[in-house]
């Protein structure tokens, strides 16, 4: 009656083996390492880079303990943290001769120390930021600004479309997210409407009037708004990727969260100020024309005093020159695909090379053709405040989308401008709405405290259970150990992130999982007291307790799932471990402990008694 078929024992054995295998890597710890990955999409991590890294290390006399190439890049394992720092500098110098514009990201990292055969099968648990130290940011994308910017861009498109067809209007202006076009007669308005509907499918139109003027009010269609928002988010994430590459972080996490948020996690980053500075640089880029008509000393002086001509804005160039720039945007940063520092082919002056996408190239060609000899301004807009990065004179019409800005620049300035243009190309401004920074010492502290509380709690619990339930207590304790093994194995196999609340959940799960064994043991005792034979008591104890165990675990699981669905941040880390722990505890406390009981008692024909503590009282 208390025998399991062979397959149940086999299942338990396989589960224990898998649990042990996946838990094992967590015991080997981590070794300091240097990670080299390409900083640009055009570069690939290949064996050639592996060779170059190897040569650089050999020249410096550094002996790596291991070195391999994977999808991310080259990883070099080193003996200690001092060599790690040295190796990082050596590799950085060898691969990035131009420090201002690195081709490869060289970052400090930690690699699992487990032997190769094991590393091929299982990885250790991924430690959360609160355990390993690092920065966590939640960034909110300002979608209203993204839409407003799109409306401004569409207004520009409308202007050029109407001009191309020779349709005379008496003004186009943006009012909120709407674009209002004024006409003198209905016939022109009808013509314009046809053109706009055909050429700008993102807009929906409505007629209106104001005094004697006839108006056409264009608004962005909801689906186009949604598309704009999605694009803005995507581009911002891409830009964040580029910026974070500058920081040299080994395993950054950059993820979309919800419809307008981005999570950025930078494990192991110590220089949090720099990280914040680079991420917080919420700049957007705009190309506008300089208002040459008003660039006379009188108007500039008036503008300085606050009397800015209509449709213009007053700026001071980086060199200190005053400028009047038109409000109308010619191009935005999202038309810019790349910006690199370099040199002019003929004059060998430092220069910045820009690459525009197809639409950008077309607009740029048109604008430069009409404005040869005039100046255009490239502005960096940060939180509503603009700064003129550069204001070059247009020498000729520029087609093909390849633009060169040169003149009056040092190499350093060219580098700066290129970096600002490249990294500044955010589609919409972002704001940090949540931040968590954990220093590395606190992380180590948290691991120790979490670990200590689990171990001491577990020891006290085991001691009590063994004293109270004798051999059945030993089984319960072993079942609890198996539970721990399954849980950590499962967390490692799923590569779930372990946080401090996660460790707390492990401790709590163990404390709660004992409930099942207490239920069983109490029931067996009760059956024995009731006069059942030992074998029948074991059988009935497990059978009767099972329904109760299942019910109580389901209710705990309901609470766990609710936490998982609605929780965020630390709560989610808790909920994941809690839910997994409930599942593993049902298996271990019922099946595994029963297996041990069956192996010990089930085979005996004549069982005089079981070791479950005192049941003699009546």
């Amino acid at each position: 009656m208390n025998r399991y078929p062979i397959w149940v024992y086999a299942t338990i054995a396989v589960a224990l083996l898998l649990g042990a295998l996946y838990t094992l890597p967590n015991f080997f710890g981590e070794a300091p390492a240097v990670q080299v990955s390409p900083a640009r999409a055009t570069l690939k991590a290949d064996t050639a880079i592996l060779g170059r890294v190897e040569d650089a290390l050999k020249k410096a006399g550094i002996q790596p303990t291991g070195m391999f190439l994977d999808l991310v890049g080259v990883k070099v394992r080193l003996a200690d943290t001092d060599t790690q720092l040295k190796a990082k500098d050596v590799v950085d110098q060898a691969l990035n001769p131009d420090t201002a514009n690195p081709s490869y990201t060289v970052a400090l990292n930690l690699l699992p120390n487990s032997p190769r055969w094991l590393a091929a099968i299982a990885q250790p648990m991924y430690l959360g930021l609160d355990l390993r130290g690092g920065v966590h940011f939640l960034l909110q994308v300002d979608m209203r600004a993204a839409i407003a910017k799109r409306a401004e861009g569409l207004a520009g498109d409308m202007r050029s479309q109407l001009r191309d067809r020779g349709i005379r209007h008496s003004g186009i202006s943006r009012e909120g997210n709407n674009i209002v076009v004024r006409f003198r007669d209905a016939e022109t308005r009808d013509k314009a409407r046809a053109v706009i509907l055909e050429q700008l499918p993102d807009l929906q139109l409505a007629d209106s009037s104001s005094g004697s003027e006839l108006l056409l009010v264009a608004s962005i269609k909801p689906e186009a708004q949604k598309r704009t928002q999605e694009l803005a988010l995507k581009q911002n994430i891409q830009t964040l990727h580029n910026r974070i590459n500058e920081l040299g972080v080994a395993e950054p996490v950059i993820q979309q969260q919800g419809s307008d948020r981005v999570v950025v996690q930078l494990p192991g980053v110590q220089d949090t100020a720099k990280a914040k500075e680079i991420l917080g640089r919420t700049a957007t880029l705009e190309v506008r024309m300089v208002d040459e008509d008003n660039m006379n000393p009188a108007a500039l002086a008036a503008a300085r005093g606050g009397q800015v001509p209509f449709g213009d804005e007053f700026y001071i160039e980086r060199g200190g020159q005053p400028l009047l720039v038109r409000k109308q945007v010619v191009l935005t940063g999202d038309r810019l695909t790349d910006a690199q520092p370099g040199f002019d082919n003929q004059t060998h002056e430092p220069a910045v090379h820009l690459t525009l996408d197809a639409t950008g190239a077309r607009i740029f060609k048109e604008v430069t053709r009409e404005n040869v000899g005039k100046r255009m301004a490239i502005l960096l807009i940060e939180k509503g405040r603009g700064e003129v990065v550069t204001a070059p004179v247009i020498r000729t019409e520029i087609g093909g989308g390849r633009v060169q800005i040169s003149g009056r620049m040092t190499t350093m300035e060219a580098n700066d401008v290129a970096l600002l243009l490249r990294a500044g190309a955010l589609a919409a401004p972002m704001e940090i709405v949540e931040e968590r920074t954990v220093g590395p010492s606190l992380g180590a502290d948290n691991i120790k405290k979490g670990f200590d509380s689990t171990i001491y709690g577990f020891a006290a619990l085991s001691l009590f259970i063994i004293v109270y339930y004798a051999l059945f207590g030993v089984f319960s304790t072993l079942a609890l150990c198996a539970n721990l093994l399954f849980l950590i194995g499962l967390l490692s196999a799923l590569q779930a992130t372990l946080t401090l609340p996660g460790i707390a959940a492990i401790a709590l799960t163990l404390g709660m999982a004992i409930d099942a064994n207490v239920l069983i043991n109490e029931r067996v005792r009760e059956e024995l007291r009731g006069g059942a034979t030992p074998q029948a008591a074991i059988h009935a104890g497990y059978e009767r307790a099972f329904g109760t165990i299942l019910d109580s675990n389901v209710t705990t699981l309901i609470a766990g799932l609710a936490l998982l669905i609605f929780g965020s941040g630390p709560v989610r880390g808790f909920a994941v471990v809690h839910c997994l722990g409930i599942l593993t505890s049902i298996f271990s406390s019922v099946v595994v402990s029963r297996g041990m009981v069956n192996l010990t008692y089930g085979t005996r024909k004549r069982l005089e008694g079981v070791s479950i503590g005192n049941t003699a009282w009546k």
């Binding site: 949090t272 220093g439 019910d551 699981l557």
Partner: protein, 310 residues
């Protein structure tokens, strides 16, 4: 070893009214403190900045306050955190202020005062995120309650579902009452602890409900009161041992877990202690007053032979 040698059923139900009055009073007290003092929400819910700063020697909190005052900060709080060398600086949200600049500026003024000050942790939460967290927390509580009632109604009977959730929400309110009374910080991990306790305490009710059902089948002649008394008496040793074991784990967290786990463990401790009380002495009387009967749990077995007769 055996702690509980109870030979006769303990007449819990005889004193049900007294127990319920005690619960009602604690419950009302908890509600009173919640209403008058309110919860001391952490910045995760209210929004703001928290910085944990560590010093090499014992930190001089007054000096830190002076340093911050001289920089024109007000409305902040400075307190020791865990040890005398660590302090926690809390800053409320200010419109138009950048979190990155704030923590940097505060750190600069602290290092100017004492060179050994090192930043251990910064947490900043914007107002919108805080509101969402609070809403999601309330939603999680609601969904958990509904889920548990539905499950128990399905497995047992609606009376058990309702009685169990009232008993356990009573625990939740009492935990919150403690946090309000002592103005302990109510943070996200505490919320997680509260929900975990809710799920855990329901275990208790499930175990008793299971026994009540079993007794209805076995003890055909016994009255409802006798059945409930027997169910509680038979499970009391399991109840106390399980809670003792879980509490051992939680106490270990309370002792060794450091300040990060302190309030989490504290919430669990209160929950576990009141969990025993409420399942045994709140849920069971409620079930009786809701009028549970043998027929609710033991479905009459239909005689198939009769159906076969044409």
């Amino acid at each position: 070893m055996e702690f509980f040698k109870i030979r006769r059923d303990i007449p819990f139900m005889r004193h049900a009214l007294a127990f319920n009055i005690v619960s009602l009073v604690t419950f009302l007290l908890a509600v009173f403190f919640l209403a008058t003092k309110g919860l001391n929400f952490s910045i995760e819910f209210t929004g703001g900045t928290v910085m944990e700063v560590s010093y090499q020697q014992a930190a001089d909190v007054d000096k830190i306050r002076k340093a911050l005052d001289s920089r024109g900060y007000n409305d902040y709080s400075v307190q020791n955190f865990g040890s005398s060398r660590d302090v926690l600086v809390r800053m409320p949200l200010k419109p138009g202020q950048n979190s990155a600049d704030l923590s940097k500026a505060v750190m600069e003024s602290l290092t100017a005062e004492d060179r050994t000050a090192t930043l251990r942790r910064v947490e900043f939460v914007g107002p919108q995120v805080g509101r969402e967290l609070a809403e999601n927390g309330a939603l999680a509580l609601l969904i958990t309650s509904i889920g548990i009632v539905l499950y128990l109604a399905l497995r047992f009977e609606w009376k058990f579902g309702v009685a169990a959730i009232i008993a356990n929400l009573h625990d939740v309110v009492i935990i919150l009452g403690f946090f309000a009374l002592f103005q302990w910080e109510f943070s996200l991990p505490v919320l997680a602890a509260v929900l975990a306790v809710l799920g855990y305490s329901v275990n208790e009710s499930v175990v008793i409900a299971d026994r009540i059902r079993e007794n209805f089948r076995k003890m055909r002649k016994a009255s409802v009161t006798e059945i409930i008394d027997n169910a509680i008496t038979r499970t009391i040793s399991r109840t106390i041992i399980t809670h003792g074991c879980t509490q051992t784990m939680v106490s270990s967290m309370l002792v060794f877990g450091g300040p990060a786990l302190h309030y989490f463990a504290l919430a669990l401790t209160i929950g576990i202690c009141f969990g025993i009380y409420s399942s045994v002495l709140v849920m069971a009387p409620l079930v009786r007053w809701l009028g549970v009967q043998r027929e609710d749990l033991v479905k009459p077995i239909k005689d198939k032979k009769e159906e076969a007769v044409v």
